[in-house]
C-alpha cells in the first residue's frame, strides 16, 4: 500500500514537473508552478525559508520522501531502473557507502554555493540537471509531436495547435544535458540510485536528517528468514540483510522492500535504537565508463550541430520572394539579462540553470549562456524575436528568485540595456531607401527619425536613440532589415534600472 501511494505520488509529481518544461505556452505554470518552487536547491536560492523548513521537517518525520517523490531526477532514475529490472529481477545488492565521494561532493557544492560559483552548483544539483535534460532532450520531441498535430490541425482548419520553432539553443548546454542524461541513466540502469547516494548533494544533506527520522523501515528479526529479497530489491543498496541493518542516510523511502518481503518482516514504524553502519570506501567503478559515453555523446551533439547549420544554409526563396539571410548574434560587451532579474549579479547568484525560463520563452529570446561564469544560465538575444511587451513569462516561472515576478507595467519601465545604432549598416545609408522600422516598433518611443543632412534637399531620415527612455527590449534589433547583422542592436546593462 505504502509503495503504491508513493509510486502514484512520484509519477504525478514527475509528470507535472516534466510538463512544466515541455509546455511552451506557459499555462501549466499557473497551476503547478509551485512544484518547481518546492525543489530543495531552488528554495535555497530563493531564500525561501518556509519551504526549506518544511522539507527538512518532512524528512525528520518520514525520511527521504523528498528523494522518492518530489525530486524529478530521482523519479527519473527509478523509471530507468524499473525498465532495466523488467529483464533482470532481484538485481541489487548491498554496497557500502562512499563517504569521501559523498561528503567531498557536498563540500564542493557548499563551497561553490557560498562562493557564488553558479555553474558548479548547477552541475551538481539534481533539479536543474533534470530540467536541462527535459528542456534539451525531451522538449524537442514534445515540440515535434506538437508540430505534427499543428500540421494536421492546419489541414482540418483548426486553430487548436500552432507550430513552434525547434532549434538548438546552446550546443554546450545540450552536450551537458546529454552527458548528464547518459551518465545518470547508465548508473540507474546498473545500480539504481547510485547518483542519489554517491554524488547528489541534496541527497547527502537530507541523509543526515533522515538518519534520525521519526518513521523508518525496520526489519522484524523474529519474522525475517534471511532470504535477502529486500536487499536484492533495494535500489539504494542500503539494506545489509545479514546484519539486519539499514543505512537510513541512503534509504530513499521507496517502500519496495516492504512489498517484496514474503514474511512481512519489513515495517515502517517509529524510530528504534539503530546501529551505526560500517563504512568501506570502494568506488571508482563508475568513472571509467563515463568517459566513453561522454565521447559518444559529444559526437552525437556535434552531428546535431552540423545538421542544424546545414539546414540554415539551404533555406532559399521561391522565385517571387527575396532571400532572407539569417540574423547573427551581435557581439555585446555586456550580456543581456531578462527584466525582473535586476541585473547580471542577482541572476548569477540565484540561478540554478534549470532552463525553465528558456523553455517557456515564447519569443525565442532566452537561451543558455556559453560564458564560463554564467554557464547554462539564461541570456537574451534578439535574432528570432524580441522581448515583447505583453510577456513576463520568465519572471512567472522562475523558482529561485533569479528572475523576480514582475508585471507588464513593471517591465515597460525596466531598462535592461540600450539600443546602439550602427550607421554603416543602416539600409537608409546602404540601400538609400526610406526605413523607419526601428522607430515605428519601439514600444518606449525612444527612437525618433531625423533628416540625415541639412545639405540634401530631400534627405532620408535616420534614427536617433534616446538612451534614457530605451528599455532594451530589442524590437528595433529584431525588426531591423539589415542582415545578417542588424544596424541597431541592444547593449546590455550590468544592473537594471527603472526609467
Amino acid at each position: 500500500m505504502l509503495r503504491k501511494i508513493r509510486t502514484a505520488a512520484a509519477i504525478a509529481c514527475f509528470t507535472l514537473i516534466t510538463l512544466l518544461f515541455l509546455d511552451f505556452t506557459g499555462t501549466l505554470h499557473n497551476w503547478f508552478g509551485w512544484l518547481a518552487e518546492i525543489q530543495f536547491v531552488p528554495a535555497l536560492l530563493a531564500l525561501n525559508a518556509g519551504v526549506i523548513f518544511a522539507l527538512v521537517a518532512v524528512t525528520m518525520v518520514l525520511g527521504r520522501i523528498y528523494c522518492s517523490v518530489i525530486c524529478p531526477l530521482g523519479v527519473f532514475q527509478d523509471i530507468v531502473s524499473w525498465a532495466a529490472g523488467k529483464r533482470k529481477k532481484n538485481r541489487f545488492s548491498y554496497s557500502p557507502v562512499l563517504p569521501w565521494l559523498r561528503y567531498g561532493t557536498l563540500a564542493v557544492f557548499i563551497i561553490a554555493f557560498i562562493a557564488g560559483t553558479g555553474p558548479i552548483v548547477a552541475l551538481l544539483e539534481p533539479y536543474s540537471a533534470y530540467g536541462r535534460i527535459a528542456s534539451n532532450l525531451f522538449a524537442p520531441v514534445y515540440q515535434l509531436g506538437n508540430n505534427a498535430l499543428a500540421y494536421f490541425a492546419e489541414r482540418m482548419d483548426s486553430y487548436a495547435f500552432y507550430s513552434v520553432d525547434i532549434w538548438l539553443k546552446s550546443v554546450a548546454t545540450f552536450v551537458v544535458a546529454a552527458v548528464t542524461f547518459v551518465v545518470i541513466a547508465f548508473l540507474a540502469r546498473r545500480n539504481g540510485r547510485t547518483y542519489c547516494n554517491a554524488i547528489c548533494p541534496v541527497g547527502t544533506a537530507l541523509g543526515f536528517t533522515a538518519k534520525y527520522s521519526l518513521l523508518k523501515p525496520h526489519i522484524d528479526t523474529e519474522r525475517c528468514n534471511d532470504c535477502g529479497l529486500c536487499a536484492s530489491n533495494c535500489k539504494a543498496s542500503c539494506i545489509e540483510p545479514k546484519g539486519h541493518r539499514i543505512d537510513y542516510s541512503r534509504c530513499v523511502m521507496c517502500f519496495d522492500c516492504m512489498e517484496k518481503c514474503p514474511q512481512k518482516a519489513m515495517k515502517y514504524e517509529l524510530r528504534k535504537i539503530t546501529q551505526k553502519k560500517k563504512a568501506e570506501p570502494n568506488g571508482a567503478q563508475t568513472s571509467g565508463k563515463v568517459d566513453t559515453s561522454r565521447r559518444n555523446f559529444l559526437s552525437v551533439a556535434a552531428l546535431f550541430a552540423l545538421a542544424s547549420t546545414a539546414n540554415a544554409q539551404t533555406v532559399t526563396g521561391d522565385g517571387g520572394l527575396a532571400l532572407i539571410k539569417e540574423k547573427k548574434v551581435p557581439d555585446r560587451s555586456t550580456p543581456l539579462t531578462p527584466p525582473g532579474s535586476s541585473g547580471a549579479g542577482n541572476l548569477a547568484r540565484h540561478c540554478t540553470a534549470c532552463g525553465l525560463c528558456i523553455s517557456v520563452c515564447p519569443n525565442q529570446v532566452l537561451r543558455p549562456s556559453g560564458g564560463l561564469e554564467t554557464f547554462m544560465q539564461p541570456e537574451m538575444s534578439y535574432e528570432r524575436g524580441y522581448c515583447r511587451p505583453e510577456c513576463v513569462k520568465c519572471s512567472e516561472v522562475c523558482p529561485t528568485g533569479a528572475i523576480n515576478l514582475i508585471t507588464t507595467a513593471d517591465k515597460s519601465a525596466i531598462q535592461i540595456g540600450h539600443a546602439v545604432w550602427i550607421k554603416e549598416k543602416c539600409v537608409v545609408n546602404t540601400d538609400k531607401v526610406n526605413c523607419d522600422n526601428c522607430a515605428r516598433h519601439c514600444p518606449a518611443g525612444a527612437i525618433q527619425m531625423v533628416p540625415a543632412g541639412a545639405d540634401n534637399p530631400k534627405p532620408l531620415k535616420i534614427p536617433i536613440v534616446n538612451t534614457e527612455r530605451c528599455i532594451g527590449c530589442g524590437a528595433c534589433e529584431n525588426l531591423c532589415p539589415s542582415r545578417p547583422f542588424s544596424a541597431i542592436y541592444v547593449e546590455g546593462h550590468e544592473r537594471h534600472r527603472t526609467v
Binding site: E154, Y159, Y162, S163, G317, D318, G319, G320, L321, A322, L323, I324, R388, P389, E390, C391, V427, D431, V433, N434, C435, D436, N437, R440, H441, L479, P481
Partner: protein
Amino acid sequence: MEKDFIKGMDRRNFLKVLGTGAAVSIAALAGCKPGDRASNRRFNEGDVPTDKMTYRTDPKTGAKISLLGYGCMRLPRRPKGLAGGIEDEIDQEALNGLVDYAIAHGVNYFDTSPVYCKGRSEHATGIALGRYPRDKYFIATKMSNQGCPGREDSLKMYYNSFKELGVDYLDYYLIHAVGAFDVYKERYLDNGILDFLVRERKAGRIRNLGWSFHGQKDFFDYMMNKAGVKWDFVMIQLNYFDWETSLGTSNVNAKYLYDELVKRNIPAIVMEPLLGGRLATLNFKAQAMLKQANPDASCASWAFRFAGSLPNVLTILSGMIYKEHLQDNLRTFSPLQPLSAQDNETLSRVVQTMLEFRSINCTGCNYCMPCPYGIDIPAIFAHYNRCLNEGNFPDNRQSEEYKKARRAFLVGFDRSVPRLRQSDHCINCGICTRNRRCPQGIRIPEEMRKIDKFVEQLKIDVQ
C-alpha cells in the same frame, strides 16, 4: 432473431451479403434510366453544353468571339518536389487538357503575355493551341516592356511572341498596362514602338491593336481623344464592384470607361471580372445574399453575368486552372443569362457589404513582387481579406467571438505567411509602389502599416 442471423453467418457469407447490397445500391444510384443521370448530383458532364456558347461579333473583323475568354496569366503548375520537377514548372499536360475542354465547349479567345508565369505562359499556351488549326482560335498577347522599355528589347519581345506562340499573325495585340502619360511616353513614344506597332497592323501581322488600362482618368481621356491612333479595342477592368466605385489611387470607375468606349464604338475586353477572385469568395453576408437569390449559382457566375450583360463587351477573361472552374464558367456562358433588374438590385446590396467589410483590393497579380526586403505582400493581404470575409475578424473586444477570432487571425497569419515575411518587417521603402506597379493602385506600405498595427494590437491583447 436478426441478431442470431448475423451471429450465425460466417465472415465470408457476411461479406457476400454486404457486397450484394452495395452492388444493388450502386445500381440504384447510378440510375436505371440512362437519361436520368442528374438524379443524385447537382451537375454532370452533360450539363455543360458544347454548342450553346454566347458569341460576340468583333465590329472591325466580323469575327465571332466567345464571350468567355481564356486568360493565361496563371496556368496549372506541377506540384513542387515531384521527381525531376522544376519548381513552378507549368503542367503542360493539364493545360492541354483544359484547353481541349474549353475549345470543345466553344471557347476561342486566349489571352497571354510575354511576362506571365515568369515568362513561361506564351510558350505553354503556344504548345496547347499549336495542336489546333490557326483559324480555330484567336490569340491575344502584349507588349509587356514595363521592365525593359528600350527599343531593341521591345522589338525582341514582339518578335519572340510569334516564335513562342508558333504563329505568323496575332489576332489581338495590346499595349500592356498603361495608366499614366510619363510611363506611356517612355515605353511607347520615345522609342518609336507605337509607330512600329501601327505599321505592323497595316502589314497585317497584328489584326487588332489595343491597350489595357490601369490608371488615371486624364490618361484614359488622352488615349481616347489625342493618341492619334485608332484603337480596335481596349481592355478595362470591369466588375460589379468597381462599376461605380473607383479603386485605389485610380480616380475613375468602370462605368465611365465603358460608356466612353460605347460612344466611340470601340469594343471592351474585360479583365478582372472577379476582381482577382475576390468576387468568387465573398464575405459570408454577401454569399448568403447571392445563395438566397439563387442557390444553384456560384458567386463567380454572378460576376460574369454582370459583365456579360453589357452588349459592348467583346469577351470576358477568366484564368481557369481547375477544370471545375472552367466547367462552372462554361455553364454560365452557355448561354449567358443577362441580369434582371432584381439581380442588379441584389448585386448592389452585395457591393454595400463589401464596402462595409473594407477589404484590400489586392488581386494577387504579384506585380509588386519580389519585395527586396522579403515581404510576401499578396499573401499578407490575402490572409487579411480572408479573415474579413469569413467573419473571423477580431475587431471588437466586446464580442464573444473575439478570443477565438484573435487566435484564428494570429495562428492563421503564421501559417499563411512565414514570420520573417510578415507586415512587421515592411520598412516602408516604397519600392513596391514605384512606377505605379500595383494595377489596383493599393498604397501597399500604408496598408502594411495598418495591418501591422492591427496585428500588434492583437498580440498585446493577451487576456
